[in-house]
Each structure stands twice: as C-alpha cells, then as structure tokens.
C-alpha cells in the first residue's frame, strides 16, 4: 500500500470540495473493495476521504411512502433494521446475504452502489424497487444510475447521500452465491410496486438490468408459470470460469420463478 493522506470531513459539502480540489483523491465508505485494492497496489490515491464522520447520512427513516436509507448505513444495519424488515423485507433479506458478517458490518449501501460491481447485490435491490439515489447535487433514478461495468451516472465530485425506496406492495430477492467470493453469480429481485411489477437482475450482465418481458407477463399473471418460458439472451451475459453465459441465462429464469413463487 502506498502512503496517502487521510481525511475525515465533517460534511458532505466539505468532502465534495476536497474531491474537486484533488484529482487523485478517493472517497471511502466501508472500504470493502477499496482497501484490498490499495493493499494489492492496484490503486494509489493521494488522499482518502473517509465519510465515516459525516453526520446525517447514516440510518433508516420513513418519509411518507418512501423508506430513506443513508449512504453510510451498513448492510448489517439494513438487514437488522426493524423499519426495513417491516416495510421492505425483501431488501432486509438482500442485505443479509451480502458477503460475510465482517463485510456486512463494514460495507455500506452507498459504497456498494457507487462501486457498481456487476455482481453486487444492492444494484438488483435498488433497480428492482425503483429506488432513487440522492446525491449532493441531484436525484438519479436507479434505472439510470448503473451505466456499465463498475460505472455509474455519478459525476467526479458527486457523492451519494442516501437512497429513497418507494415502499412496495411485496418484494423478494433470490441469489445464487459465487462459491468463492459470495457475490451473486446471479441475483434476481422481484417487486410488486404501486407503479407495477419490476424484475431486476444482478451478476448476470455487466451491470444490473430489468427484464421487461417478465414484468409485463407478471403484470397480467403474477405466477411463476407466467414467466417460465421467458429467457434472457445469453449473448449479453457474463461468461467466466465459474458460470457460462448459458447457465446464467437459465439461472435468471429459475431464480425469477422462485422469487415469484415465494409470494405463496
């Protein structure tokens, strides 16, 4: 690991100012991806801006029909939070399936989403629930947020403050864990929201995506049977030593069916 200057700004505004002023500075939330990268000397930022001391961007609250989760809320806190469990149990379940206990007690929702790992769990949850990312500059719909492989719509000095989740009627997350890393080989989040059914997939492609054919079919008939013949195109999916694209395409449908069937 190279040396770096370590900062703990007291506000999001201060953090943003610092980011603007230092080209090779990096924001840090839980550090679950960043720190191993530094230790392996794959990155060498001049400055680390740790958001741990910024007040008001951590925790869960209800705001009307939305659940608001601060960017610095850990996966363990989301998993255990009574409001999340009551209002969006599918999301609480998702958070409890991320990584391992050590990761869940350090990693945060903002950090995970900003990193946009193609196999991370939260992208499926945020896209699947039609969430909105609130940054220091604007609001970004989850549908527009995940742009590509490790790529988001965030601008260079833009910082996620929180994520607003419309409270769904019902939701559920199904995941096939990677045997080594615990990331999603495929994860499928299905939600019945006031705006309609949403089906979002992580792990299978370069970034989270929705399956409109399944959403339409489920809107008409919310049953596993309604989507059993809907398959995503393997040609667009990840293909690696752990899972072929064909396998992933198949698993997407299996997990989507299981998610729907979980409603009982």
């Amino acid at each position: 690991m190279e040396n770096f200057a370590y900062h703990t700004p007291a506000s999001v505004a201060d953090a943003a100012k610092f980011l603007e002023a230092h080209e090779d500075a990096k924001l840090m939330s839980g550090g679950m991806t960043l720190l191993p990268t530094l230790k392996q000397r794959l990155a060498a930022p001049t400055d680390l801006i740790d958001l741990a001391k910024v007040p008001d961007i951590k925790g869960v609250c209800r705001d009307g029909d939305e659940l608001v989760i601060g960017a610095m809320t850990t996966h363990a806190d989301v998993h255990e939070n009574a409001l999340v469990r009551e209002l969006i149990p599918g999301l609480a379940s998702l958070a409890g399936q991320i990584g391992d206990p050590a990761v869940r007690h350090r990693g945060t929702i903002g950090g995970s989403c900003a990193n946009a790992d193609p196999a991370a769990d939260y992208p499926a949850g945020t896209v699947g629930l039609g969430a909105t990312f609130v940054t220091n500059k604007r609001k970004i719909a989850a549908d527009d947020f995940f742009v590509g492989l490790f790529e988001t719509a965030l601008e260079p000095s833009e910082i996620i403050v929180g994520v607003r989740f419309p409270i769904p009627v019902w939701s559920h997350y199904q995941k096939l864990r990677h045997p080594a890393s615990g990331y999603a080989v495929v994860g499928v989040f299905v939600a019945q929201t006031k705006a309609g059914v949403r089906v979002a997939v992580t792990g299978a492609g370069p970034s989270a995506f929705r399956i409109s054919a399944m959403e339409e079919a489920l809107a008409k008939d919310f049953s596993a049977k309604a989507i059993e013949n809907i398959k995503v195109d393997a040609g667009d999916l990840n293909n690696d030593i752990h899972a072929s694209a064909d396998y992933r395409a198949h698993v997407v449908t299996v997990l989507a069916k299981r998610a729907v069937a979980a409603k009982g």
Binding site: Q40, V185, I241
Partner: protein, 777 residues
Amino acid sequence: MGQYGIGQPVRRKEDVRLLTGKGSYTDDVNFDGQVWAAFVRSPQAHAKILSIDTAAAKAAPGVVGVFTGTDLKADGVGTLITDVEFKDLAGNEMFRPKRDFMTIDRVRFVGEMVAVVLAETQAQAKAAAELVMVDYDALPAVGSTAFAASPDSPAIWEQHGSNVGVHWENRPEAEIEAHMAKAKTRVVVDIVNNRVVPNPMEPRCAVANWADGELTIYAPTQGGRRIQQGLAKTVMNLPADKVRVISADVGGGFGIRGKLYPELGVVSWATRKIGRPVKWRGDRSETFVSDYHGRDQINHAELGLDANGRVVALKVWTIVNCGAYFAENGPRLPINGGGRIIPGVYDIENFYFSVKPVLSNTVPTDTYRGAGRPEANFLMERLMDAAADATGLARDEIRRRNVIRQDQMPYRTQMGMLIDSGDFIGNMDMAMKAADWAGFEARRAESAKRGKLRGIGLSNFVEPSGGRPTEEMRIQVTPEGKAVVYAGTHSHGQGHETVWAQLIQTFLGIPFENVSLIQGDTKIMPKEAAGTFGSRSSWMGGVGLQRSAKRIVEKGTKIAANLMQAEPEKVSFDAGVFSAGTSSVTMAEVAKASYELKNLPDGVEPGLDESYFLKRDPEEFNYPNGTHVIEVEVDPDLGKIEMLNYIAVDDCGKVLNPFIVHGQVYGGVAQGIGQAMTEMTVYDDEGQLVTGSFMDYGMPRAHHLSMIDALFNEVACKTNDLGVKGAGEAGACGAPGAFVSAVCDALKDYGIRHIDMPLTPDRVWNTIQKAKAATAA
C-alpha cells in the same frame, strides 16, 4: 489415568495462548536494523529473460540493494533439492531439471522469482520492486496437464525434448493384460484429480539474521532440520551447525510447509550479503503463486471383474502435473505416496501401474494433506462405483466382495506393503448404520416431492502413515519434578503440547500441567529430529516418548532404590511413585535427588534427562483406514449441491485424544470437501493462474458442509507399542470419493456416472444438460 491420561478428550492446552494473540509466529519476530525483502515475480508463464534493469529500483527511496539470480550464482549458491529418482522399465533415469534458487535466464511459471529488492521498509521494497524492468521474450506456454503429456506440447526444458520426466511402470502391462483378458466385466474410468492451492492460514514469512558467522532464520516449517541441512549445504556452504532454523508457532503445514523454498535461500543469502537482518512477509497473492500446489493428476484406469464381482485385474495410468520443476517430492506422490496403496482396501492381486510425471508452466506440486493417497483412494472408489454399475451389484456389495478381510491380515499388497490390521467390513457396517443407509430410499422420495434429487455415497480408504523412518524425542525432568519435552516432531496445529503432556502424565505420573514442550528450534531440538508430516507423530513421536520415558523410569529406579536403601530389583514404579516394600518416593523427589551428587548411586550420571532415537523399518507403515458416508441433495435447476449428512468412521488405531483426533477428521474432511466441491485451480492456455485469489478460488466455508459425525472403529496397530495409526490425512482421503459418489447417486436417473471435481453448480448443471441432450438424441 484420570482426566489427562491417554484416550481422554483433553482440551488443547495451547489454544488459549494461540487464540489470545500470545503465539509466537514468524511475523512476530523483528530485529533491530532489519531490512525488508520484496520479490519481483514473473508475470509470464514461460519466457526468456533478455535483461533485468535494476537501476531505477536501486535509486528508489530506502532501497538497500537489488539482486538477481546472477548475484546468487556468483556467490556459489546451488540448486534446490529434488529428492526423487525413478527409472523406467528399461532402466532409463528420470529427467531431473535443476532449479536455481532464483532463476537467471528463463522463467517457467507465473510467480517465479527473478529479483529481490531489499529496503528499509516493506512499502519501499514493494514500491521499488515495481521499478525493476525485466525484458522478457515470451515462449509458448504449457498450462494444462493433458497438454503437458501430449507429444505436441513444446518442451519447457529443451535439453530433455519432452515434458514427461519418466515413464515409470511397476511391471510390463502385458503381464496384467493376460489376467484382465479373463475378466467377465471390464470397466473403465477417466478422472481428473483437480489441482488445489493449499493455503495455510499463515502466509509464508521469513526473518534471516547473519551474525557471528552463523545464520539464524525464522520461518514457518514442519520441523526445520531438513531445511537447516538444505540451507547449510546448498545456499550457505556452511556446516549444518552454523545454520539455525526456528519455527515456533506455525499456522498450518499440510505438507507443503515442510519444504526448502527458494525464498528461504534468497533471504539467507541476502542477510550475509548485506550484513543486516532481512525480513520477508509474503501476502496471500504470493501464497497462490509460490507455495507448492497439490494433487493435479489425470487417471485412466481399468478394472476387470469375474462373474462373482471379484476383481481379477487392475490397470492404472496416471499423469501427474509436477509444474515447472520437480519439487522435493513431486513425482514421488503418485508412485510412492499414493501408488503403493492404489488397490486400497481391496484384495487385488494383479495390478499394472503406469505413471508419467510431467512438467508444465505452472507452480510446482508437492505433498499436500495425503500426498498421493487421497488421489489413489479416490480412483479406487470411482472404479468400485463403476464396477457396481456394470455388474448390477449394490455399491456396498461390490466393495464387500473385494475388501481385504481381517483373517487375511497381515496382508501383503501387490506393491509390497504389509497391512497389519483393520476392520474394513466393520467400517462399512458401522458407517452405513450410522447413516441409516437402509432408510435412504424413503428420504430420497421425500426430497423428490420437493423437486430435489437426493443421493448417498460411500468411500473406503486406507493410507500408509509414518513418513520418514526415524525420529528422536527427549524428556528432561527438572529438579522441580516438571517435565520438558524436546521434540523432534513439530506441532503446527496438531496439538502436541496437549498430547505429549498426556503421554508424560501417563508414563511418568508428572501432572499434565507440569509438562512443557520445546520444539522447532534446530539448536535445541534432538539431533535426529525429523518433524511432522505424513501422519507420523503419534507413532514416531509417541513411541519415541514412550521409550524415553522408559529410560527415565529405569534411571529413576536406581536413584529411588538408593534413596530408599532398597535393591533396585525390588523397586516398582506406578503413577509417578517409586515403591519398595512400605517405602516410597515420588518422581519429583527422585528428580530433585538426581541433580544432587550425594544421592546418586555409583556409576549413575546426574540429572534425569533421556532421549530415544527411534528407528523403524523404512518399509513399515501403519494403516489408518475408514469408511465415510455422505448424503447430499442436488437442486437440479441450479446444479447446486447441499451436503446433508456426513458420517466418518475412522480407524486411527489407539486414539490418544479423541477431541484432537476429531479435529483432525473435521479438518481433513473440510479439505477433502473443498477439493470435491469448491476448490478449482484454473490455468489458462497461456499459463496464467486465473484463480489467484479468494475472490475466484473457492476455499470451503462452514456453510458448505453439514455437521460431521466422527466415529471410531478402533483396531490397535500391531507394529508399534502404542497401537496408534495416523489421523491427519484420513478425512482428505475419505471425503472426495464419498461426495462424488453421493452426487452421482442423486443424478443417476440422468445416466450420470461421474463428474470431475470440483462439483460446482455450473459444472453439475452443464453435466445434467449434456446428459439430457444425450438421452433425447
């Protein structure tokens, strides 16, 4: 013998120290004025080194020196040890390439060292290592085992002209084909025994200090004596007593940590070169590309059976991928390590065996938990399942018809090993009963209702244990009556502090808590110390202690007789007390007296301190054996396997501490299941290690396993005084065969007979799809 005697489930006395950060691992050692080493490692699998430019690195902050293989060579550093020699039937010797401690003009695997940077801090050393400019001229690489054995692969050692080191055979194939021809049924299996990356919890580390004409090096090893001798001879050009190797606490050995690695040679050379202590702490990435790997065989085998399902002949062809160089034991593993036990627990008279150790552009392979025996047992068990399938006999029945029976023991195998004892039928009965094998079909039907495919599998195994045939153990009884064990064995997780104390309490009556263990320091360990590997310590260390203790009692008897004014012949010893008639003295009193000249009878030297140098016939082993049964459920839509139940029946001979032996079983099983279920080592065609971190390499986690019910079918070994057999490698031998058998049983309706390990969801699902397509066609 009370709660601390032999056979008691005594809690490990070392655990509090180790679990509260009070252990003394190599990384805990630091010297004033030390420099840090970082190695420049090859990113190329196979290339000529055209030049190495160290100028920028030498100019970097904090750098003390940058050295290459040329510098080591100039100082007379030799080559690494390959401790194996085999010939083919025509008498041609195995090709044995020389490996420099640091390569000079050629790299042959990703991760091979090409330079060392020494700097004031580790960060400076690592940063400067990135500045060493190596100009490589890439050559075609050989990444896969099958390709290495093919005549089409480029020879990575041109002078040999082939990647096959030797074609070893136990006898001409035609001799066995004559028997095979009489078989009513012939079954063939083709197996890939997957390469695994051992990954002890402690990454490798070394601290070397040259002072006063002597080298002291701290490093995690499994004993140290051989490494001391190797360093003295091949690197330092010194008498062995001028080299001191210290391995206090070690975080896992598994066979791979018993070796003289090139990094140890480089830091040893470097401390003398620069006159400062040198420390290297490898990271996990270096573990993946520089610790020796394990397994990596391709087996083709044929079994011939008569009309009664009795085996008439067996033929096995094995290719073992030894990596870029033959490591200390590399080619030995399939031949001496595993091959000698290949007929396993089965009575097979006619056996042909062919082994080709091959070289490739991969990390060298060497001993890893079981060292050839898991591979051998896995192969036999896959053959037995195939034989069951072909003959229509149940999987247990085909085994029952072929196992070596107790009335055949001692049983001389085809390869000359003498199995002294074991209850192979009893193992199966016990395991199948505990697993409720009889009630399985009802459970299968219940799973089917939930859309799951349930399977059950079993695996027999036997494995020669004992390792090298010599060991020395020493017991010193202090004037306070406490015992200090100076062990030639080395505990790096096995719990010797506990078990040796149990033995001392049993043999000498010295309380468990008053026994301490000194090990892992070549300066004070017994001269003939060998170390711990090959499941040898209970025998070689345990019996060594027993014999040392006997000498303590013999001498103590003379002193006690003198103290009690009795004839030595009238003195008896029991539970720490010497008695003669109505008089008695305790071991503590005798120990105290032994250091006082006035109490010593004529001709008795002061002190109570005895050693025993134990030698056994090098061809004599003990034979831990067992039957493991696994039940699984397969989710056919995902190809995902859930392990539901694990029954391990082990015959480890006389169990010295069931708590510790259970730990050995659990650990071995976890590593066996890891190989079978998650651990996939992938080299691509360019020789790049694709699975070089825990993000891609699947170490088994607790949630991959079910609970393990570890049972003993104890049959005392007849060839050692304690009746012990090894325990360390049993789990790794039993688990893979039972696991694959169970999964194939679950998938039998698809016509699936075998899936190569590891059985990842993707692989299982793809196998099901292929089987479905084949059925449809």
